[in-house]
Structure formats: structure tokens, C-alpha cells
Amino acid sequence: MIKSILLTGVGGQGILFAAGIIASAAEAAGFNVTTNEIHGMAQRGGSVTAQVRYGEGSFAPLAVSGGIDVIAAMEHIEAIRYAHWLKPGGLAVVAKLSVIPVTVTNGACTYPADVEERLHAVFPRLVYLDCAALALELGNARLANTILTGALSKGLPEISEDHWRSGLLARVKKGFEEANLTAFWKGRMLCSDI
């Protein structure tokens, strides 16, 4: 078995943090793990992706497109942008959030008005969460990506709750453990897709 996860979003949203949690949890669960992280331009605002793969045996850090088991998007049109990476039957976990690119502000492009409908049309297995609002309920806007990670964890049943817990704790800064654990379990609970 090899599981492949694609994380997408906008530069500065904390995609590498989420990738780190998945990788650490998979490692704790005893799997071989690879990740691929796009680094580079320091500026924010660009479309970014990362992949995490885990399983038995050895494998490359990148999957073929159409080979992703779970796609997680921290911005909703980024989910649609990378939809063709998902496998048949794959799960999409998407944050309900619009980050307006400057190409829209300067009139060169338009931001789709029907994102939610398009998401439902594209992904048969969709978990669509307002992570930003949920994070604010918990008192810290920065917890949005932890909530999303908690939600996507439900789509990766080979990793037990104990291993998710240790994966998360391996990545969280001292002093923020409790808040992140609460956010993670909240996201996991809200993931209605089994």
C-alpha cells in the first residue's frame, strides 16, 4: 500500500506545517514516508503545493497525476485547480476561504462566483469546512490549517489516533500543544466523510 496526499493553497498559509504533521504521524505509525515541498520565492501570494506519500517498501516523493488519495486545499479554488490529481474515489478536504489573487484585482481574471457548486460538481467525496470561522471560535485564526489537517486525517485510516497525536506534537511549538490538539480533534470530528 502507498497513500499519496496533495496539499494545496496560497503561499504563507502553512502548507508545510500540515505536510509535516502527516509525515510525522505516518512515521510514528511505522510507515516509510516521503514528502515533496515547493520552496523558492520568498514572496507570498503564489499558488503552492506539497505532497506526502507513505506506505510499505520504497517509492518516489511524487505521485502521478490521477494518483492522489486525499487532496487538501486551504483555499477553495486551489482544490479545483488541482482536482485532476485525485484518484477515482479520492477524498477532497477543502477550506471555505477565498484569497483573491491580484490578477483578479487588476481585472485580468475573474474569481468564480460559484465555487461551492463547482466543488460539489467536481468532487463526489467532499468535506467543505469554514476553517477560518472555526479557528476564530477557538480564539486563534492561525489554527485553521490544524483544523483542516484534523479533517483530512479521517481519510487516512491506517494512521491511528495515537499516531496522529504524536505526529502533531512533533510539529507544534512549545506552549501551543493544547490549542492545536483541540483544533485537530475538532477538524477530525467535523469530517463527516468516513
Binding site: A23, V33, R44, P61, H84, I100
Partner: protein, 589 residues
Amino acid sequence: MRLLLTGNEAIARGAWEGGVTAAFGYPGTPSTEILENLVKYDGVYCEWSPNEKVALEAAAGASIAGARCIVTMKLVGLNVAADPLMTLSYVGVRGGLVVVVADDPGQHSSQTEQDTRHYARLAKVPILDPADAVDARAFMLEAFELSEKYGCPVILRTTTCVGHSRALVECGEPRPKNVTEFKKEPSRFVPLPLWGRKLRVKVEERMDAQSADASSHASLNHVIPGAAADLGIITCGITALYCRELMPEAPVLKLGWPWPFPDSMIREFAASVKRVVVIEEGDPILEEHVRSLGIACSGKSDVVPRCGELTPDRIFEIRERLRGTNNELPKPFPQADGLPMRPPVFCPGCPHRALFYALTKFDVIVTGDIGCYSLAVFPPLERTDVLICMGGGFTLAHGLDKAGEKKKVVGVLGDSTFFHSGITGLLDVVYNKGTSTLIVVDNSSTAMTGHQDHPGTGRTISGEPAPAASIEAIARACGMKRVTVCDPFDQEKLHKVLAEEIAADEPSLIISKAPCPLQIRRRLGTVRAIDAAKCRNCKACLKCGCPAIVVTADGKPAIDPQLCSGCRLCESVCKFGAIAPVAVPGQEG
């Protein structure tokens, strides 16, 4: 101990385990994190050198003293460091010297897609090509050994995908460092023609020995067996992993030490399979060599794309071409079209935006350079007309000027680029009586590659205080008479300075100075807001291209207080006084 490391972290780890004494480099994606990680280990001297040539020369000195050392750079950095590399190959080294060069197939963040293996052939030095982080650590250790065994520098070539991918790496403990003590040996360390001709012969002999060694060096070069002998794949680097996953039945000759070519190994492998395909990223270097050995093979001549990264999707396509089948990857979800593009942009509060916004008001030619400010080429600013390489911002301007171009030419480069290779260009303009207006966009950082220090920041890579070189004093010492320092957010003053200097018929330098807000991690000033009652919706503020300014549902601009850095650029752009500072609780300054 097993650690989940990126290729770049693994190279740092391997260097440390290999007893590295000193490390030199200049930032460049995807190589930057190697030194940033190595500096975290105790007892290793690390530095950001002003440029790659300086880095390699300093490392040569360290190695001649007996120390193990590494030099890190991105692919184009080796163009800058090529001169010392060529001669160092003759002169040779004492302590292991490894030049780590990060190639960028697919040009994720580079202006060219050059294949560093050509440099290894040109310099006649071995090159190692890791496939992942596990290889990266191990090959670093091997590279030190080979460098000391043959007394020559060794290139460790990575790629973007290798450097930025993680794998579980079994790590060890560091070996003791070499004892450093210089031994006088001029016939070896001074390549005057008299001695140089002898060294030249030695280099050829060394390559023959290396080719034989590479053929039996199982930890670097080996065959990964497959179930069917119909097709054998010769490859190097990360491509080996993709081939294993997508064509598991095919035996793979994985060349971690592809050059000097391991001829006997290649012959033996080719004889063991019915058909050979060479699948390599970059140029068909192995492929053409395999053919020169009289072995027929497929490769870039028929089934492998000539440019770009060999991603898993492309390996799949190659497989289908080799099999003569036309299967497509099963993709149940269509690739979306009509989505707005999301290119990287200047951050809110970026001082480069302010400088280039001011330049939009002048009818001049702008020769630009490489750094965050390259983004000025895109809409809405579109205020860079020509760009080639680091340092070119000044020299291109000078050439246009000397060619008799009627429009005034403005040459722009960044502070890190100024110290890298901008000073010589400035000297050229002054010495040869050019009339270009030169601008350094000084944000006190090497921002594009992730905010590294440089000789002007007053700090070393390890965070220690250091003398801060003054761009202004250097320019004056070079004979530049007109030098002005200006805050780019003071648009009124900047406009006046630009008008004056552009009109002057002698050269001048403007230092546009303001920090990078992404690096200092705080707002530049109070958050701005648009007063809807005063806003005439003229959309002038949108011409700044600030991501904090968005257009709301009613078609009017508004400022996102979360994103706004308070730089005041939009406020000075608005003619109707609609933009002003506002107090947002907890977000002052």
C-alpha cells in the same frame, strides 16, 4: 538514528558526519537550505560569501590547507565560479573539496535549465548524482573520500526535487576533522605553464582511473534487478525512483557516479538486456556516450522529452511510447480551466513596489536584475524591460547607453546583487563615462531566496555582528559623484530625485532604502483604510498591485486590514484623499 530529512538537510548532515571543517556558499534556490542547516551543527565554519567565485576560491584555500570543505550554489552560480573550478581541477586539493550544485530541471526558480554534468566534463572532475535524501547523505560522504583519493574537487549535483523532498535517512556520527597544516609544494599548487602541462597529463590519467573505479563502485553505481530482460533502463538521479515505480519489471542501471563514464559497467548492463533506453533529465549526455560505445539505445532521440523536468507523468508517457501502447493516466476529474492565475507578487508593504511604481511615471528603459524585484516585469507595474543575470542590471544599461540609445536608461539591482557582481558594473559606468541612472533597491536582505545576510547587513550567517559595507561609500570610492539615498515610500521626494537624476547627463546612483517587511515581520506603519464616502472609484490605487487592496462586491476598492502593512504607498497615490491611516485594535505599527 533515522531522521526525516530533505535532500538539502541530508547533504548538510553528510558533510557534518564527514568531518567538514569549512563551508562556503552563495544563496540560490534550490541550494540555499544546505548552509542554513549546516550552520546549526557545532564546530563547522560556515559563511555566505559575496558570490560563488569567491566561495569556491576560499574553499580551495581551505582544502589546500588540508581541511575538508564544501561549497554550495545553484546551477547558474557555477557559471560565476567556473574560472576557479577549471584550474582547481589541475592544481588539485588536499582536504576533500565538494562543490554542491543544485540543478533545476523544469526551471521552477531559475533562468536557465543548464545541466551541470557538462561542467564536470569540462573541468574533468567526478560528479555524483543522488536520487533522494538517503543518497544525498551517503554521496556527500563518498564525495569527500573520492576527492581525497584522487586529489581533485568533486561535484555533488542535486536537483530541485531531490533537495526539497524528504525521506527517512539512517544517520551516523561525525568522523574527526582533518588536521590542517599548509605544506609548501609550488609545482603542485602553482599551475605556471611549466608545471601546468604536467598537471594536464595527470588529469587525463586520473580520469581513466576514475572511469574504472566508477565501474566497480557498487555503492554509487549498481543495477537494480527487474523481472524481465526485454528493456533495460540507464538513468541517474531521482528519475531512477520514478522508473522503479512505473516500470518495476525493467532492470535499472542507476548511475550515482555518472561521469567519468563507467564504461565497462554500461557495456555489461547493455549486454544483459534486449533493448536499452537512457532516461535522464537535462541533456542527452549519457545517451550520446552509450551510443558512442556502439550500443544502440532509445532516449531523447526518440522517446524522452528534451526539455523540462522528468516528472512521474512524463515517465508514464515515456513508458507508453516504449511499449507502443497509448494508454493515458486515469484521471477521473478534469483539469479545470478558467480559474484565475495566482502568480507570486510583491508582498504588501514591499519597498520594491514603491520604487517601480515611481518609475512607471518616467519614459525610460529599465534594465533589471534577479531578485524579488524581478516581479516588476509583470502587470500592473511592467517596469522592467530587459533582464539577463546577476549584475546585469547595471551593465546592460551601460551597453544600451553606449550604443547610442536615445531614451535614458535606468539600471536597477538589489543590495545582495550589488555585492555579488554589481560593483564592477558601477565601476564600468563611472570609469567609461556612461550616463545611466543606476538604482540599488536596498532592502537589507537577500530576500528572494529566503532572507539571507550579506556583506551589507551587518550580520554573518551564524547571526554574529559583522562590519556592514556601505553601498554609498563604495560608490563614492569608485568615483560616482551623484549619490542619493531615498526612502521609496516618500513618493514625492523619490519622484523629484528620479526626475533630477534621469535628466542629468552624467552617471548617478540612487539607493532606494527600506526594509523587507516579510523579513522584519512587522508592519511598516499604521494600517490604511479607504473612506467609501471620499472614494471616487478611479482605481488608481489598484495600479500599485498590492494584494491587500481588493475589489469588493460593489466594485469599489477596499483594504484588507489583516494584509495591509501600512506602507502608505496607496495613500500617496490617491488624489482624492480617500485613503488614510486607521486604528485597528491590536494592529498598530
